[in-house]
């Protein structure tokens, strides 16, 4: 049995029946990382020693007959923008290349309490700014399905690690699609819960009104299990929502009869790759056969989403990133005067995409332009939010493609920032409106690249969203291709 290929719930059952140990699982994942990392480069930092120690502790608890939580003894990869006490946290940037947090993010505290094993910190676009993981100071990650293509971004390391069996579970963060788009390009499940469901305490801030942490997993069941652990109120994050968190495993119901599936026409426009369109249409057809009702809906302000997002997110980023000045942590370029020290530290510490976004944001917030750009964008954000409120009066969930194209070639969009921004066109509306969204596998292109399908639900509608995702997964043959024991690429390609 190749343990690294298994899902979290499969491993949990084997641990419970004492057929395997956490040490065996952790060692298997470490061997897998050592074998494929030279090709994939999903990790910035690995924490094997601590992971093995941790695994031994869990095994001891199992022997003592302690009740086993669903994540106990399971190796998990963490995107490198979540603070891990004593473990370097770089955000993919030179400016934080040596930062060792003195505290754990809320989600890390929760994972530790649940007994999960942190196996390493994954690669990402610098400060989560990018859609391909090519903007990392530590070099790009490659898509395990085709090493010449990108894994998507910015949580490309986490998505590639799960797809390549270099982790059983992973956490990503999603500001404009950074969990869902790489999940789609790597053929795994990526879930952004409602804004406020997961505490951002200890998540290095990019755009505070949009950032959200969420799971990247091999299947929907694992997604529900990990969500159960990370969701919940945290007074340390003033935007954390104080609402009861449902048991998401109760949504793992293979039934969709009577559900109204909204299909927004603006998400199936020209420019969407024909095979992506076909893959998503096929899945919608399967759901209709199972008793769902298809409803045509319109989100008329869709064409403005990219413009609104690329004003609001950089504006918030330019403010959030002002803290990197060489004083409290990270890189410092020593200079005689303070202002020179600030300038040289930031100029040498940030990569080009981060500089571009800081500049767009600074410009949009500066005197004379604030009303025309930033305030105007916030007003259009209201219209985008209202589009969803109207649409959800007529349907329970929306189904769209996740990304307009399958994984693209490394280097093909790096010189054209605007072209790169357009790869988020189908996911950023979810962040602007704050609603939950999940990407799951819905087929393959002829070239063998995964196609992602996105399900969106109203604010706090995670339960119905996961039920639809689970039903799609259970009723499409495609997903079997990447489940354990099937024709996973692992043995042939790497």
């Amino acid at each position: 049995m190749e343990l690294a290929k298994l899902t979290c719930h499969e491993i949990h059952n084997l641990l419970k029946s004492k057929e395997i140990t956490s040490l065996e699982v952790t060692s298997a994942v470490i061997s897998r990382i050592e074998a494929v990392e030279p090709d994939v480069h999903a990790y910035i930092t690995t924490t094997f020693e601590q992971a093995l120690e941790q695994a031994k502790l869990v095994d001891k608890e199992i022997l003592q007959g302690k009740e086993l939580s669903p994540l106990a003894g399971i190796p998990i990869a963490i995107k490198d923008n979540m603070c891990t006490k004593g473990i370097r946290t770089t955000c993919g940037s030179k400016i934080l290349h040596n930062f060792i947090p003195p505290y754990d993010a809320f989600v890390i505290q929760r994972l530790k309490e649940a007994g999960a094993i942190i196996i390493g910190k994954t690669n990402m676009d610098e400060f989560a700014m990018g859609s391909s993981t090519e903007n990392s100071y530590f070099g790009p990650t490659r898509n395990p399905w085709n090493l010449d293509t990108v894994p998507g971004g910015s949580s490309g390391g986490s998505a590639a690690a799960v797809a390549a069996d270099e982790a059983i579970l992973a956490l990503g963060s999603d500001t404009g699609g950074s969990i869902r788009q790489p999940a789609a390009l790597c053929g795994v499940v990526g879930f952004k819960p409602t804004y406020g469901r997961v505490s951002r305490f200890g998540l290095i801030a990019f755009a505070s009104s949009l950032d959200q942490i969420g799971p990247i997993t091999k299947d929907v069941t694992d997604c529900a299990l990990l969500s159960n652990v990370i969701c919940g109120y945290d007074p340390q994050d003033s935007t954390s929502v104080n609402l009861p968190v449902p048991d998401f495993t109760k949504s793992l119901v293979n039934d969709i009869s009577g559900f109204r599936i909204g299909v927004p026409k603006e998400y199936f426009i020209e420019g969407i790759h024909p095979e992506v369109k076909q893959g998503v249409e096929k899945a919608i057809g399967i759901l209709e056969d199972l008793g769902a009702v298809r409803v045509e809906v319109s989100l008329p302000h869709t064409e403005y989403c990219v413009a609104v997002y690329y004003l609001i997110a950089p504006a918030e980023a330019s403010s959030n990133l002002a803290r990197y000045d060489g004083v409290q942590y990270g890189l410092r370029i020593p200079e005689e005067g303070l202002i020179d020290m600030y300038c040289h530290t930031r100029t040498q510490g940030f990569g080009n995409e981060v500089k571009r976004r800081i500049m767009i944001g600074t410009y949009a917030l500066s005197a004379g332009y604030y009303d025309a750009y930033y305030l105007k964008a916030q007003k259009v954000r209201t219209l985008i939010k209202q589009d969803f409120e109207e649409a959800f009066k007529r349907c329970d969930v929306l189904i769209t493609p996740t990304s307009p194209t399958p994984a693209f070639k490394i280097g093909s969009k790096t010189n054209d920032p605007l072209q790169m921004y357009l790869s988020d066109i189908l996911t950023i509306s979810g962040n602007l409106a704050g609603i939950p969204g999940v990407s799951i596998q819905s087929g393959w292109t002829q070239d063998g690249l995964p196609i992602g399908l996105q399900i969106l639900a109203p604010l706090f509608g995670e339960e119905r969203l996961l039920q639809v995702a689970y039903t799609v997964e259970q009723n499409t043959a495609e997903h079997l291709k990447y489940l354990p024991g099937t024709s996973h690429y692992t043995s042939q390609q790497l």
């Binding site: 060792i100 409602t194 935007t239 990270g330």
Partner: protein, 94 residues
């Protein structure tokens, strides 16, 4: 032109960034096409629309003003590029 080289220089100085002359040209060109694309939102009439700063309606979030334990000073200063006597040290300001 949505943005000129001179404006790019001004933005750089506000953001504490320095660009070489060729970088300034490159960024001016890229930012110009990005900002031109952004101008799309001006097609919409928004005089009577309230801005959204946040996706979830929130009012002020307050907590009791109670003293709680802080992180130990040494641990916080451990990441500082330069520190001494319990403080961050910076180059001279004037």
């Amino acid at each position: 032109m949505a943005i000129t080289k001179k404006e790019v220089e001004q933005v750089c100085s506000l953001a504490r960034l320095e660009l070489s002359d060729s970088e300034k040209d490159e960024f001016t060109c890229q930012l110009d096409s990005i900002l031109e694309y952004m101008a799309k939102i001006n097609e919409l009439e928004t005089a009577n629309i309230l801005p959204t700063s946040h996706p979830i309606p929130l009012t002020n979030v307050l907590r009791e003003d109670k003293v709680k334990e802080s992180l130990p000073v040494e641990e916080v200063l451990a990441n500082a590029p330069d520190a001494g006597k319990g403080h961050f040290r910076v180059p001279k300001i004037f």
